[in-house]
């Protein structure tokens, strides 16, 4: 119910968000040989975003590539019979490898805490 209420509040702005998304798609479609990041940066600046805000777009896009790469690693692991859980075990092990015990504890506790608090992230 809360989600529906928020959507109703957002609906008045939806066309604007939609227009932004459409304009980005159109500029990318019209310039198939151009660098995507450069096109998005140019459009963001046209919308009046600051240099810092434009940097955030580049950082988000760099992270999206990392998501894809990590997901592909899991897809490949599944092909050789690994489960999701065993893949996660290896990844976490790599994550804390070489760290001092105190740091390991912080990392593991934070991951566990974040996972257990998805409910608080639902709204």
């Amino acid at each position: 119910m809360q989600v529906i209420l928020i959507i109703k509040q957002l609906d008045k702005n939806m066309s604007t968000y939609q227009e932004i998304l459409q304009s980005l798609l159109e500029v990318v479609a019209e310039n198939p040989n151009s660098n995507l990041d450069e096109l998005l940066t140019k459009k963001a600046l046209e919308y009046g975003l600051s240099e810092k805000e434009v940097e955030d777009i580049s950082s988000a896009n760099s992270l999206i590539e990392k998501f894809e790469s990590k997901n592909q690693k899991l897809v490949d692991a599944r092909k050789i019979g690994m489960t999701r859980e065993s893949f996660l075990y290896e990844e976490i092990n790599n994550l804390i490898d070489g760290k001092e015990d105190k740091e390991k504890e912080i990392i593991l506790a934070a991951i566990k805490d974040a996972s257990e608090n998805i409910d608080g992230n639902i709204e």
Binding site: I6, E26, D37
Partner: protein, 223 residues
Amino acid sequence: MEFNELISKTATVIDTAARVKEVILSSELQEVGDAAGKDEVASISVNSEKANQLLESLVSSKSDTKLSKIVAAATKIADATGAMKLAKNTVFDIASMSDETVTRIKVAYQVANGEIDIEDAVDKLIDRAATRLITISEVVINKGLSMAVNTLSKVLVSAFPQTAPLIPIIKTTVAILQPKLKEIAQKGISAVAKHAKNVAHKVISWAKNKVPSFAKSIALKFA
């Protein structure tokens, strides 16, 4: 407790959280999806033929990140200009929301086209959330760890995007697809949502056995 045991428990917690989140999100998408077809926003599609062709190729592509990047840029611009203010708008939040949006649409497309079955589809979405958490952990930790557990946890939880802003973003992205493609995406999203909702109790039982500390609050949502 040995670190090996702690790591094992942490892996289980992530797996469980990703399963539970998928059920919750799909449940919300189903409720909103039922009304989406009647929404005027859903009847507006991109006018440019070239943009439509681009969209179709991006939605049908399995691993291309271009559409996620475009959605991320649109989300950031919308937030910065006030078109759609987000309660959580860090780089991690925006990247995760965009990734989730586009993954969900692509998976829906594959389901509706018979390329993957419904169980594989739900699995793909769970995989994606779990690997996002690992990726964000790597990025944050590689920058140098100088934060307390609760501060780090607040960053990491962005791997599981908040439902409230995510649904309008998914809805709008689907809305701009040309009618035929939109119908396919909506059909797939609806199918995945129904399936995930059907297995909610199975997931809750899994959570109860694996991580009882947070299964109870999740179960209440489906009581």
